[in-house]
C-alpha cells in the first residue's frame, strides 16, 4: 500500500472535510480551519519534525472543540434556566434559528411556572388548590351504627376498589350559634330577665330589642362551646383504611354524612403532563450547535487550545498504537506517553477553566457581585461630608 500521507505543511479546507459538518458552511469556520491546522502542526513540532496527522485530523479536532465549547456554554445555560424552561412548547414558544427552534440567541427571563407546578402537590393535599379534583360523596347514617366502610361505598358508586382517599369528613357538632336562643342550654337567660325588667317579656324570645355589644355575643358562644366540650359527647371520627368510625354513635335523629375524597388514580394520572413537543428533560432543551461566526475571540482562543489538546491526544494514539516502532536492527519508543498525559491534563485544565469562568458569570454570582459593588459604592459615598441644607 502506498504511503499514507501525513501533514504536508498546508491544507485547503472544503465543506465536507469534518466528520459531522456542523460548521462547514460557516465562512469564518472555513477560514479558521486551515489556520488552526497550521497552528496545531507548528505547535506539535512541524516543520522540525513530522507530524503524523492529516488535515482531516486537525479539522475533526477543530470541529469537536467548537462543539464541546458550545456544549459547555449551553449546558450551563440549561442548568441556569431549566426551572423556567421545563414544559415550554418548543414549536410555539422557542424562536427559530437556522431553520430550527433554538434558544441559542434567547434571553430567558425566570418565571415561577415550574415552581408552582411543583407546589401543586401540596395544594392538593391541603385542599387549597392543586391539580387533583376533590369529589364529594355522602353516606346515609344509620341509628346505632358507628362504623361505615367507605371503600364499599366507593365500589357501589362505580369507583375502583380502594381508589378513594378521604380528605374531609363533615361530621361536627352543631355550631354554637344554633343554641344561642335555646332556653335550656343554661346560657343567655340574662337577656330574658333584662327584657322582663323593661316590660318587654311578653314578646317573642326571638325578638330582642336590647342592643348588646358584640363581645357579649362572642362570650356567650364561647360559653356554649366550652359547655358542650366539657359536659357533652364530642363529635369526632376516625378514618382508617377508609373505614369510618363516628363518635358519638348516631342516634335516632340521623341523616346523611357528607365527605370529600380524591381518587388515587387521578392523583397519579394528573402528575404526568406534557407531550412530545414540550421540554421535559435536559436532552430536549432546544439548544443547537453554536454559530461559529458569533463566537468571540475569548471563545475562539479556548477552542484553539482545546483543539490542540485533542490533536496531541490523536497524535499520542497514533504514535502509541505500538509501544515501540521497529527501525533497522532495533526499536524506538515514541513520545506517546508524554503526548497523552499532556493532552489529558490540558483538556481537564481547559474544561475546568471554562466552567469556573461560567460559574463566575452565573446569575447568582453576578447579583452577588452587583450587591457587593453597591455596598462598597455606598460605603465610599459615605466618606463624602454630608452637608445640612437650611431652606
Amino acid at each position: 500500500m502506498a504511503n499514507i500521507p501525513i501533514w504536508p505543511g498546508s491544507s485547503n479546507f472544503i465543506p465536507g472535510n469534518t466528520p459531522f459538518g456542523f460548521y462547514d458552511n460557516d465562512y469564518q469556520f472555513q477560514q479558521d480551519a486551515d489556520k488552526f491546522a497550521n497552528f496545531a502542526a507548528r505547535r506539535l513540532g512541524y516543520p522540525i519534525v513530522d507530524v503524523e496527522l492529516q488535515d482531516l485530523n486537525f479539522y475533526a479536532a477543530f470541529e469537536e472543540a467548537v462543539t464541546i465549547y458550545g456544549n459547555e456554554i449551553y449546558a450551563y445555560q440549561i442548568r441556569q434556566n431549566y426551572l423556567s424552561l421545563e414544559g415550554v412548547n418548543i414549536a410555539n414558544d422557542v424562536p427559530t434559528v437556522n431553520g430550527g427552534p433554538s434558544l441559542a440567541f434567547s434571553q430567558v427571563t425566570p418565571n415561577l411556572g415550574t415552581i408552582i407546578r411543583l407546589s401543586e402537590q401540596y395544594g392538593t393535599e391541603a385542599g387549597t388548590g392543586g391539580n387533583v379534583d376533590w369529589h364529594t360523596g355522602s353516606i346515609a347514617l344509620t341509628s346505632s351504627v358507628q362504623d361505615y366502610d367507605l371503600n364499599a361505598w366507593a365500589v357501589s358508586q362505580g369507583y375502583a376498589d380502594k381508589d378513594i382517599e378521604i380528605k374531609r369528613v363533615f361530621y361536627e357538632s352543631p355550631p354554637a350559634i344554633m343554641k344561642y336562643f335555646y332556653p335550656y342550654v343554661g346560657t343567655g337567660a340574662g337577656i330574658m330577665n333584662v327584657m322582663d325588667t323593661f316590660g318587654w317579656g311578653n314578646y317573642s324570645p326571638a325578638i330582642n330589642f336590647v342592643l348588646m355589644p358584640i363581645n357579649y355575643d362572642l362570650q356567650i358562644i364561647q360559653q356554649i362551646e366550652f359547655n358542650d366540650t366539657i359536659r357533652r359527647s364530642n363529635y369526632s371520627f376516625e378514618v382508617q383504611n377508609n373505614k369510618l368510625r363516628l363518635f358519638p354513635i348516631p342516634d335516632g335523629t340521623v341523616g346523611k354524612l357528607y365527605f370529600q375524597f380524591l381518587l388515587k388514580s387521578e392523583r397519579l394520572a394528573n402528575s404526568i403532563t406534557g407531550d412530545e413537543g414540550s421540554i421535559s428533560n435536559l436532552s430536549n432543551v432546544p439548544y443547537t450547535n453554536p454559530v461559529y461566526t458569533h463566537i468571540n475571540s475569548v471563545g475562539r482562543s479556548w477552542i484553539f487550545e482545546y483543539a490542540l489538546a485533542l490533536c496531541k491526544e490523536m497524535l499520542g494514539y497514533v504514535r502509541g498504537k505500538y509501544s515501540t516502532v521497529p527501525i533497522p536492527g532495533d526499536n524506538v519508543t515514541m513520545n506517546q506517553a508524554d503526548l497523552l498525559s499532556s493532552a489529558t491534563s490540558d483538556k481537564t485544565a481547559l474544561i475546568d477553566r471554562l466552567r469556573a469562568y461560567l460559574d463566575e458569570t452565573s446569575r447568582e454570582k453576578l447579583l452577588e457581585r452587583r450587591s457587593l459593588e453597591t455596598d462598597y459604592r455606598q460605603k465610599e459615598l459615605n466618606q463624602v461630608p454630608q452637608l445640612i441644607y437650611i431652606a
Partner: protein, 183 residues
C-alpha cells in the same frame, strides 16, 4: 485477516523510519553493487581480473561501528575493522513500489549481497554477511501463503523491516575502484 500490522501501520513505521534516518540521525553510505555478469572468473570461481560494480548509490542507514583491531599473525600485524550497516528495506526496493514512486529519495532497487562494497568515510567495506529477518509481528508480507480462505489478504499485513549488512574493511588499493565509464 490479521488485526495488527496492516499497511497503514507499516506506512506509519516507514514515515517514522525515514524521518529518523533521513532527518534526525542522517547517517549515510555509498553502496557499490557487484556486477557479477561482467566479472570474469577463473576455474576456481574466483575473480580472475577486475571486479565491476554498479553505483555508487547514496543510502540512509544506521551504522554500528566496532573498534579497530590489529591482530598479529604469522605474516605480521593485520588490521580488521568490522562495521554493520542497517538499511530500511523499503528504501532498497524498486522505484515502482507505490511507497517509493512519489519521491526521488527512495527506490534504490538493489539487493545487498556478499561481495558488495560500501563506501563510508573514505573507507571501503565489503559485505560478508546479510540478514533480512527483522519481521514486524514475525510476518513477512511477501509470503502470505495464498490462497487461504480463512485469512484472505495476508499480503497486506506485517513487514520486513530491514536488511542488515555485516562488513569488514578492505584497503582502498585492493578495491581500486575507479570510474569505468560515464553514463
Amino acid at each position: 485477516m490479521a488485526l495488527f500490522g496492516g499497511s497503514r501501520d507499516i506506512s506509519l513505521f516507514r514515515h517514522i523510519n525515514r524521518e529518523l534516518m533521513g532527518n534526525v540521525i542522517t547517517q549515510q553510505c555509498a553502496f557499490y553493487k557487484y556486477k557479477l555478469e561482467e566479472t570474469k572468473v577463473n576455474i576456481y570461481g574466483e575473480a580472475a581480473e577486475e571486479k565491476y560494480y554498479m553505483g555508487p548509490v547514496l543510502l540512509n542507514c544506521l551504522i554500528e561501528r566496532t573498534n579497530q583491531e590489529f591482530p598479529e599473525t604469522d605474516l605480521g600485524v593485520d588490521f580488521t575493522w568490522g562495521i554493520t550497516f542497517k538499511f530500511l528495506r523499503d528504501d532498497l526496493l524498486d522505484k515502482n513500489k507505490d511507497f517509493n514512486i512519489d519521491t526521488d529519495l527512495y527506490g534504490a532497487d538493489l539487493v545487498p549481497e556478499i561481495g558488495d562494497i560500501i563506501l563510508y568515510q573514505e573507507g571501503y567495506y565489503e559485505i560478508d554477511n546479510t540478514n533480512a529477518n527483522q519481521y514486524f509481528f514475525g510476518k513477512n508480507p511477501d509470503y502470505p501463503n495464498e490462497i487461504n480462505p480463512l485469512n484472505p489478504g495476508l499480503e497486506n499485513f506485517g513487514s520486513s523491516i530491514s536488511i542488515i549488512c555485516e562488513t569488514y574493511a578492505v584497503p582502498s588499493d585492493k578495491v581500486g575502484i575507479s570510474r569505468e565509464r560515464f553514463i
